[in-house]
Symmetry: C2
Subunit: 455 residues, 2 copies
């Protein structure tokens, strides 16, 4: 039966690509309000895809872009799979770096080049076509399915979280799948089982009530920018270890098998160094680059400002200085706890000469899915069959808030099944998707539905 | 004879004020090219003032605004006094903070309110009127005089320095006077005998070749802004002492009499703290606020920048960060030496993960005039007689490059005889000059010419 499905996918691949091209032609940029109608058009395109397959598809308006849901339920199915995706895309600028217009999809060799090809239209399309393959060969689906496809992922829109929270009962499922990431390397499919969280803080150090003449006053008054630098310098030691008391208390240490698995992955520090253009790599001692990126918490200044930044010199003691700081968190660190520890420490090291204030920016908890979690084995086996290659079980250094929302609100594990490639240029010019991987992704998804039903 | 001069000044005060008003009406803003003709008009006004008195007055065109010189020489005079001043003014903006238009001088009580009233039209006018008083009561001047009045002081123009350098022989004199500063306090006239120098450096710390995703890369690569902060933090200890090796080697320590003289001045740390709006004062231990401001070197970040400074958060590792730093220098520190020590230290503390580069901004050496220097006693006595109050011998924390140029190029001491008040709002809205101080300044100048001839 699966063989028939695989054959259906092979036989219909060109039509799938043609339909994806229609989808990719819609400039559904969520960041630009003039593309609001395009976003609605993309949502409707997705809705129609589901309707044509006989799924119960609906458009849910929000204060932002609509959310599309689709549902297939059958009394004989034991398992319900929720699939998340997004139809909105990043702005294509700068346009001059594209070799062809971003919304005129072009096939070049094995790749389809267009904005949204991998992030996330192409990837979410794999699941739709997996559904089709099942229905057209077997007239039924082996699992119940719920799709939640949103249109504000690229602008960190809050509406999908709200939607999940308020539709908790409707969205009840056994496992969730998110295909918005990538393989570890070509022909090395991956299931991502860990994401870092984030705690973003802005601090402002206020000195004199206005900028002062550095000649007339310098020496007699603390310079808030010097103070800011001294405070930031105290946040980390030279090896990159964070010095905020209690910061590491909740960190889930890497297990031996993880360290071995990471070490077994193909990785070249020198190539990595060169790709970044840095003189030397840096980070906590006794951890490898992969461990530092995926599984260790960080503290980075994202921006710093204060005083004069124009041409030449301006001889002032600035009235204030500020910095935006993000900490990436690993399981089981809690962003609220970290925010409190950060502020307590900053207050403690603030000298009596200045005043400090804070702004809270985005925060999101880390995610981890144990190897023993439900459906992980099925996901890995699906990747193995879909890609014809041994999948790896990896983590990611970035943060995907929706994953935690799904896990917390629906009380299920969300499996990150990424079909793209690390060099697909998501968010960049000439975004692409391998047509081979597109087919492999459809196969993987179809196999996953099949295996979930066997469980 | 001096009594007659004093009487002439008193009798002609109103006319002097009327002429000053004409001078103040000219919006001679050197910072704005649309006021170039106004600057030329102001230069010509000054030239005419001298010509009417029979001095040999000349306009010297430069690539910027013209320099006015005027000369009075008599074979029987032993002493030549050079007087420096500037006819250009600061932009008056923000205009809404002025109670009357900045170029429509207004008398209010004892003050004349206009841009340039104290800085420097009113103050340079005192010397012109002192010349007139001598000539009109005595038909001669007791000293030879050379005036150098420039029009680019407010824009740190280089032309006057060039002019002095290239006219070194013509400008040969025994002493120079600069009236572009202020009394220590009302009725407390001052001779300023020390200025701090300056060494302005910009550093840039380069990390990755472009901004990086702080999730995907954070932890494995040094953040250049964190590094910049760590480096800046190492430049000073907690009490404000600079940690650059060799930085203090050439510092001329304060002598006991100076510390006593400073301590005897009226000063209130709490009032000072409140005026700045800081939570607490700060600076090197074992030095008073006045000593820190006037006679100790400093290091201040004037501006810092790197990464994202817009609204909200942007989760990047910035490609680079930079800072503008000025060090105020005291006698006998040399800006070139300090620049070298600064760079050597920065290079030494630069970690191997980043690259550092430098931009040199303005530098200028410190100035000190010993109490025993020629004409200091005469200057103090002139202030005593001109103001009818005991003058104080003070230093200033700022830097006035022209003073060092005069001292070095002409090999004479430049005496800073300031007639303004600390709250005259030079560079600010509602700039003013006390008409009483204007008259006292003319008396002081006239007395100084007289005493110099007696010497």
């Amino acid at each position: 039966m699966v063989d028939q499905i695989i054959e259906y996918i092979r036989n219909n691949k060109q039509r799938f690509i043609d339909e994806l091209i229609e989808f990719l032609k819609i400039p559904s940029l969520s960041a630009q309000s003039r593309h609001k109608a395009d976003c609605e058009r993309a949502a409707d395109f997705v809705r129609k895809q589901f309707s044509q397959l006989g799924l119960d598809a609906q458009l849910h308006p929000t204060a932002g872009n609509p959310i599309v849901t689709a549902r297939h339920t059958s009394p004989e199915n034991k398992t319900t799979v929720l699939i998340y995706g997004h139809y909105d895309v990043q702005p294509p600028e700068p346009l001059d770096l594209w070799t062809s217009p971003p919304f005129e999809p072009r096939i070049e060799g094995d790749n389809i080049i267009a904005r949204g090809a991998t992030d996330d239209k192409g990837q979410l399309f794999t699941h739709i076509k997996a559904v089709e393959a099942h229905l057209k060969t077997n007239a039924r689906l082996p699992v119940n399915l719920i799709f939640v496809i949103e249109g504000e992922e690229e602008v960190a829109g809050v509406h999908v979280s709200e939607f999940i929270r308020t539709h908790r009962d409707d969205l009840k499922c056994d496992v969730a799948v998110v295909s918005d990431s990538s393989q570890y390397a070509p022909n090395m499919p991956a299931l991502c089982y860990g994401l870092r969280g984030i705690c973003a803080q802005e601090i402002r150090v206020q000195g004199p009530k206005q900028d002062l003449h550095s000649g007339s006053f310098g020496g007699a008054v603390a310079n808030p920018v010097n103070v800011l630098c001294q405070m930031i310098a105290q946040l980390k030691d030279e090896s990159g270890k964070i010095r905020i008391p209690g910061f590491y208390d909740d960190v889930l240490p890497l297990e031996q098998w993880e360290r071995e698995a990471f070490a077994a992955l193909p990785w070249d520090d020198e190539a990595f160094r060169q790709s970044l253009g840095v003189k030397a790599l840096h980070g906590e001692e006794t951890y490898t680059s992969i461990e530092r990126k995926w599984a260790r918490p960080t503290l980075d200044v994202n921006g710093i400002f204060g005083g004069y930044n124009g041409e030449g010199a301006k001889t002032i003691i600035p009235a204030w200085g500020g910095a935006k700081i993000t900490m990436r968190l690993v399981p089981n660190q809690n962003p609220q706890t970290i925010s409190r520890l950060f502020r307590d420490f900053i207050r403690k090291i603030t000298p009596p000469t200045v005043e400090v204030s804070f702004i809270d920016h985005s925060s999101c908890g880390p995610v981890i899915v144990k190897r023993s979690a439900p459906f992980v084995a099925e996901a890995l086996e699906s990747l193995r069959r879909g890609f014809g290659a041994e999948p790896v079980f990896i983590r990611e250094g970035g943060s995907i808030p929706i994953v935690l929302t799904i896990q917390q609100e629906l009380n299920v594990h969300a499996l990150l099944l990424g079909f793209g490639l690390p060099d697909d240029n998501a968010h960049g010019p000439n975004e692409k998707l391998s047509l081979t991987d597109f087919e492999r992704g459809i196969r993987t998804s179809a196999t996953f539905f099949h295996l979930c039903a066997q469980k």
